[in-house]
């Protein structure tokens, strides 16, 4: 379980997160919904320790991220995978090298075992046959799927998705949403999805958190959010 307790984050004097309190339950998909600029990505990067909160603390599986040494933080991060908005595939590595990187650096698996595992996860995300391609040769949807493959290859407990369907056409967005659900169902992954895509929220969410100007204005089931914050959702749809 991840606990976020009274987290505040500033950038150049501007308050981006204002006292966020949140519990992420294991095995659930929590969707953090809100238009651009509300602090969603900042929240996600705080959870994985890429940013440090000015106030408050984040506790993952009973370990507070505050005051962790670099090595301890890296050790804790092995439980997490992060899918970046722009996929952030390493452009100097091929698809299979991107996916294999974690296994090469952190495990003692043989080359053959790594190759087998990479092939398996590429099959899961429907990207067989792309092993030797470079990221620049892939479409946006394909990059996203490779990023998911890179994330699941080391069987993380938590997967954090930053705008997983942004910039994708309807079909690719559907594929990515289906993958998020499949990973939860088959691997028991706990997911946090940050998005402004209401379709994505409706497809994958077990629980919804609505963020506005760095504060949580709603937390609950997806059916409830539609009833109580319809205007905000419309505003969000128009602004995206």
């Amino acid at each position: 379980m991840i606990e976020i307790k009274g987290v505040w984050k500033y950038f150049e004097g501007k308050e981006v997160l204002r006292g966020i309190n949140l519990k992420i339950e294991d095995g659930m998909t929590t969707v953090v919904l809100g238009p651009s600029g509300q602090g969603k990505t900042v929240l996600l990067k705080n959870i994985i320790g890429l940013y440090k909160p000015e106030r408050g603390e984040i506790i993952a599986d009973g370990i507070s991220l505050n005051g962790l040494k670099k090595r301890e933080l890296f050790e804790l991060r092995k439980k997490f995978a992060f899918i970046f908005q722009g996929s952030a595939l390493f452009d100097f590595l091929t698809v299979d090298e991107n996916i294999a990187l974690y296994l090469r650096m952190h495990t003692k698996m043989s080359k053959e075992e790594i190759e087998k595992k990479v092939k398996n996860v590429l099959k899961v995300v429907g990207m067989e046959g792309t092993e030797q391609l470079y990221p620049e040769e892939l479409s946006g949807g394909m990059k996203k799927r490779v990023a998911i493959a890179r994330a699941v290859v080391f069987s993380p407990k938590y997967i954090l998705y930053d705008e997983p369907t942004t910039g994708l056409d309807r079909e690719n967005a559907r594929v990515v949403n289906a993958l998020i659900n499949r990973l939860k169902r088959e691997y028991g992954v706990t997911s946090i999805v940050v998005t402004h895509d209401i379709d994505c929220m409706e497809t994958v969410a077990d629980r919804v958190v609505l963020l506005k100007e760095g504060r949580i204005i709603f937390m609950g089931k997806k059916e409830e959010v539609k009833e109580s914050h319809l205007d905000y959702l419309y505003e969000m749809e128009e602004g995206k």
Partner: protein, 246 residues
């Protein structure tokens, strides 16, 4: 204020880079890749520069010496000028542009496209994965390239003097090279100075790359700043190493 912040941040990064040296075996693949990349990208340009440095210094020597100057003495001046000063500084400045600029652009574009964050999210230290291998490659490959460039420059000067201009005999040229020969000067021009240049160029390029922000413009700024700063430091270093070690 920004200057002092940058100096502080550079010092912190330098200490972190040194601390990653203990994981040199862990990052061996990245180090080998950087060795290869640095050699492949710089050898052609180093060859061209070396040939023309040799030719240019020979033309200058023949022009400046009068009929009263012993020719082996002029050959001695060419040899020492090229080995100790000419090749290391010219190569250092060119590599500041070539390596420093490309490292800053490469790491800078990784930074703005969140690839550095992605490395960290995979529990891979960007300093160990990106900076340390490049600094090691700079430290070791720049002297190797300089030794090669010095050999090429001396050969082109020898060829120009003895064959094309027929200004000096091969024996006179070689006795000029042997005159007042000091082994330390060879270490100084081929290893000490280029090692320091390589280290600084690779480190400064990586440092400004990691500081890049704000999109393509930010990468451009990082790249230009890296080139300018490393070129200035190379020239300052050239003075101080000569002053302190010779």
């Amino acid at each position: 204020m920004d200057f002092f912040t940058a100096v502080y941040e550079a010092s912190v990064l330098f200490v972190e880079t040194l601390s990653q040296l203990r994981r040199i075996y862990f990052y061996r693949r990245q180090i080998v890749e950087q060795f290869y990349s640095l050699a492949v990208t710089t050898l052609p340009i180093a060859s061209i520069i070396a040939v023309f440095l040799g030719l240019g210094s020979t033309v200058q020597a023949t022009y400046q010496t009068s009929s009263l100057t012993p020719r082996y003495f002029a050959a001695n001046v060419i040899f020492k000028t090229l080995i100790i000063e000419g090749t290391p500084i010219v190569l250092g400045l060119v590599l500041a542009g070539k390596i420093g600029g490309s490292l800053a652009a490469e790491i800078g574009s990784m930074k703005i496209s969140e690839q550095i964050d992605a490395l960290q999210s995979l529990s891979i230290d960007p300093v160990g994965f990106l900076v340390m291998p490049r600094v090691i490659a700079g430290l070791i490959m720049v002297p190797i390239i300089t030794i090669y460039a010095n050999l090429v420059a001396m050969f082109s000067s020898f060829f120009m003097s003895t064959v094309i201009l027929n200004w000096i005999t091969p024996d006179e040229y070689i006795s000029g090279m042997r005159m007042n020969f000091k082994v330390f000067e060879m270490y100084f021009g081929n290893i000490i100075k280029p090692s320091l240049c390589g280290l600084i160029i690779a480190f400064i390029g990586s440092f400004f790359g990691l500081r890049a922000k704000g999109g393509a413009k930010g990468v451009g700024i990082a790249s230009t700043t890296a080139v300018v700063v490393s070129a200035v430091i190379v020239v300052i270093l050239d003075y101080f190493t000569g002053e302190l070690l010779l």
